[in-house]
């Protein structure tokens, strides 16, 4: 067993993986082995055909224990793939995980230069040398373990926020639900009936509101907003302004469910100018109040303000279905009414949506395709009628429809206060203005920032079932650290050398996450908050700050090895 001893010369072991033939078919592995053996401090170079296999991991552990090295380089695939696996194997063999380095000779050498094997081999040798050079200057680091407070702050009391709240509260966690409006329910309060099931919204909304209100683990604050979030994952300190004053709360995790707004198409297709031109949301209100008078012809226009080259570039995902639903409702109310949906591409993805579209077609709702090059025109046509002139791209003809009502389908847009919330929570917004998740494919409800999650239309336009799904997913992610009660945070945080610190406080202003405090004339890093970005270290005029694991001497050693 080998404990890294800084007084001793570093003892390095190198594992080289063939990755089946992925690496060995391009890179001259024996040459890399030969070169690696010459690196100072290297005690062994071990080659394997597949280190990630069960046999491979067993071999890693045995080899380390037998040789007594204190640092290990893995030359193989990207650490994205098996990095954490190899680190944990090393840890079991007694090696601090911060003394493990990776040389990516598969993606960055073998694959990137598959047509130039000679150069790829040289690059592979360099990559291994750099990793080893860096390791020689590395120190063992200890991760900080933080207790996670079993409570969640949920911002937004719409269907997503409420669903997440119930899921967590039912697991015994305490939830604080903060809603900006005087009442919970969110966007659904404004809607009439649901697509797919044609139920009234209240049928699904009311039971959820009741459960949330009656749950002993949920506390609701309405007409309230989040002012400030301090602290860190596991122990956030939240300031909420409510009832004209502010209150402070503690939360282990935070879920963002602030929802979205709707685009108001003033100046487009006569909206706000001609009577008889409304948005889908307004139509929804009219239908809900039972005030829709008999109509002969209704025209709905899709993608109003959406899917544009500039501005709102995205597809709002739900508008086609909303239009088809409202068209269906009108058709059921007045079967003789002709209903037209003028669309660009029908977004009736999947099974249920496509089936719903078919049913609408069975009811005789008619679909007209337009292209962005030739948009429909809306004009007043006397007697309270609105004319719609549209080039039916599939017919190759211009049609004129003398309609009683024109309904514009407008996209969901980011909430106006999104920017402020993003700033308070230090989470990113995407180019479309919606909250930007960590990674769309596998982590659509998480942020790069740990302990904060997102769900519902705050993350992007989506339907009710998709919002509910995301709410459960966000709740599951938030529940994991609270269930485990503790989280480890990476040890690569900034560190202040008090002797060198001159107290200029430059770092305080620059730190994007407010992890630095100032006391007794010196800067101090709160490790639980610091994400190791290195901004402070780069800026410090007296070189008093360094990021653990990324110290200047480590980086310089790596650079030196590269230039050798």
């Amino acid at each position: 067993m080998s404990e890294a001893n800084l007084n001793q010369e570093p003892r390095i072991g190198i594992f080289l993986c063939d990755c089946g033939t992925n690496i060995s078919s391009i890179i001259d592995v024996p040459q890399v082995i030969e070169a690696s053996k010459g690196i100072s401090g290297v005690k062994f170079v071990e080659r394997d055909s597949s280190l990630c296999s069960s046999a491979g991991t067993k071999k890693i552990r045995e080899t380390i224990e037998r040789s007594g090295v204190d640092r290990v380089v893995f030359a193989g695939c990207s650490p994205k793939n098996y990095g954490s696996l190899f680190e944990s194997v090393c840890q079991k063999a007694g090696i601090n995980r911060y003394l493990v380095a990776f040389a990516n000779i598969r993606e960055q050498c073998a694959w990137a230069h598959q047509d130039r094997p000679k150069e790829a081999t040289i690059k592979a040798i360099n990559t291994v040398q750099m990793a080893a050079a860096r390791l020689q200057k590395s120190e063992p680091l200890q991760e900080l373990e933080i207790e996670v407070h079993p409570s969640t702050l949920i911002i937004g009391g719409g269907i997503s926020g409420m669903t997440a709240a119930l899921c967590l509260a039912n697991q015994g966690f305490s939830v604080l639900l903060v809603e900006r409006e005087p009442d919970i329910g969110g966007m659904l309060n404004k809607l009439y009936k649901l697509y797919l099931t044609n139920q009234e919204v209240s049928e699904i909304l009311n039971p959820v509101i009741q459960s949330v209100r009656n749950h002993k683990n949920i506390r609701i604050l309405t007409s309230a907003s989040v002012r400030e979030v301090e602290g860190y994952f596991g122990d956030f300190e939240v300031t909420i302004s409510v009832n004209g004053g502010t209150e402070k709360f503690r939360a282990g995790t935070i879920i963002l469910a602030t929802g979205a707004g709707t685009f108001e198409p003033f100046g487009m297709y006569g909206y706000g100018k001609h009577e008889g031109v409304v948005t889908q949301l307004e139509l929804e209100q009219i239908l809900k109040q039972g005030k829709l008078k008999h109509l002969e012809k209704v025209v709905m226009i899709q993608c109003v303000g959406a899917r544009e080259e500039k501005g709102l570039t995205y597809c709002s995902r739900i508008c086609c279905m909303v239009a088809i639903k409202n068209a269906t409702l009108i058709k059921k109310l007045y079967p003789d009414c002709e209903v037209y949906i003028i669309y660009r591409d029908l977004q009736t993805y999947g099974k249920e949506n496509e089936e719903y579209q078919s049913k609408a077609r069975e009811l005789g709702i008619r679909f007209i395709e337009y292209t962005p090059e030739r948009r429909p025109e809306v004009f007043p046509n006397g007697n309270g009628k609105v004319g719609v002139r549209v080039y039916h791209a599939l017919l190759g003809e211009t049609l004129t429809i003398n309609s009683d009502l024109v309904v514009l389908s407008t996209p969901l847009i980011p909430n106006a206060d999104g920017k402020e919330i993003a700033k308070i929570l230090k989470v990113p917004l995407g180019p479309d203005g919606f909250f930007k998740e960590a990674y769309m494919e596998m982590r659509s409800t998480a942020f790069g920032v740990n302990g904060i999650y997102v769900c519902g239309t705050a993350q992007g336009p989506k339907s009710i079932d998709e919002s509910i799904t995301q709410a459960y997913a966000a709740a599951a992610l938030a529940a994991i650290p609270m269930q485990q009660k503790k989280v480890k945070i990476p040890a690569m945080t900034a560190e202040v050398n008090e002797e060198l610190c001159i107290g200029c406080q430059l770092c305080l202003d620059l730190c994007p996450v407010h992890a630095i405090t100032f006391a007794e004339g010196k800067s101090m890093v709160i490790e639980a908050i610091c994400r190791g970005c290195g901004t402070c270290a780069a800026a410090c005029p007296s070189k008093a700050i360094a990021v653990k694991g990324f110290k200047d001497e480590q980086i310089l050693a790596e650079v030196e090895a590269a230039l050798k």
Partner: protein, 165 residues
């Protein structure tokens, strides 16, 4: 070209359950892409466009020559992803056209020939003699009297078969 959209004919939809399927057409163009007529005279015939027109403006479509250009080859019928019985829908629409008094010249003449002889093509005595000369049996200017009589009885019951001439 401007068109005021009129109500779709209830008659057409009630005629046959297959015509209902027309509503499932999302205009993918498989029919036109498969159509031999559209291949050679696309400016005159486009089955996809024709289906859209039937759906959007039936009354105008009834008067159009395009309706009679389908060659009845069943290529589109065979390939339509939505299983729309295109060929049959064209036939039904032609029925409506005839009901409304649109009698295209050539088909009408052929039908008259059928009423007269039981065949679409005339067999003149000279042609019949040629048959004989080639070793084929003579068939006469008309089909059998009995058959011709039966054709008359059946067609007299149809209002649209009152082909004046």
């Amino acid at each position: 070209m401007k068109t005021e959209i009129t109500s779709i004919s209830k008659e057409l939809l009630q005629k046959s359950i297959d015509a209902e399927k027309l509503r499932y057409c999302y205009g993918c163009g498989t029919c036109t892409a498969s159509c031999p007529v559209a291949k050679v005279i696309p400016e005159s015939f486009n089955p996809r466009g024709l289906l859209q027109k039937i759906f959007f403006d039936l009354s105008k479509t009834l008067a159009e020559d395009e309706l009679w250009l389908c060659a009845w080859c069943y290529s589109c019928y065979e390939r339509c992803p939505q299983g729309i019985k295109t060929t049959e829908i064209f036939l039904l629409t032609r029925n409506l056209a005839v009901e409304k008094g649109y009698f295209p010249k050539q088909p009408t003449n052929l039908v008259k020939q059928i009423l007269k002889s039981g065949r679409t093509l005339e067999v003149t005595p000279a042609r019949d003699r040629k048959r004989e000369a080639l070793g084929l049996p003579k068939i006469g200017e008309t089909v059998s009297e009995k058959a011709l009589r039966e054709i008359k009885i059946i067609t007299e019951k149809s209002p649209t078969w009152r082909v004046r001439g």
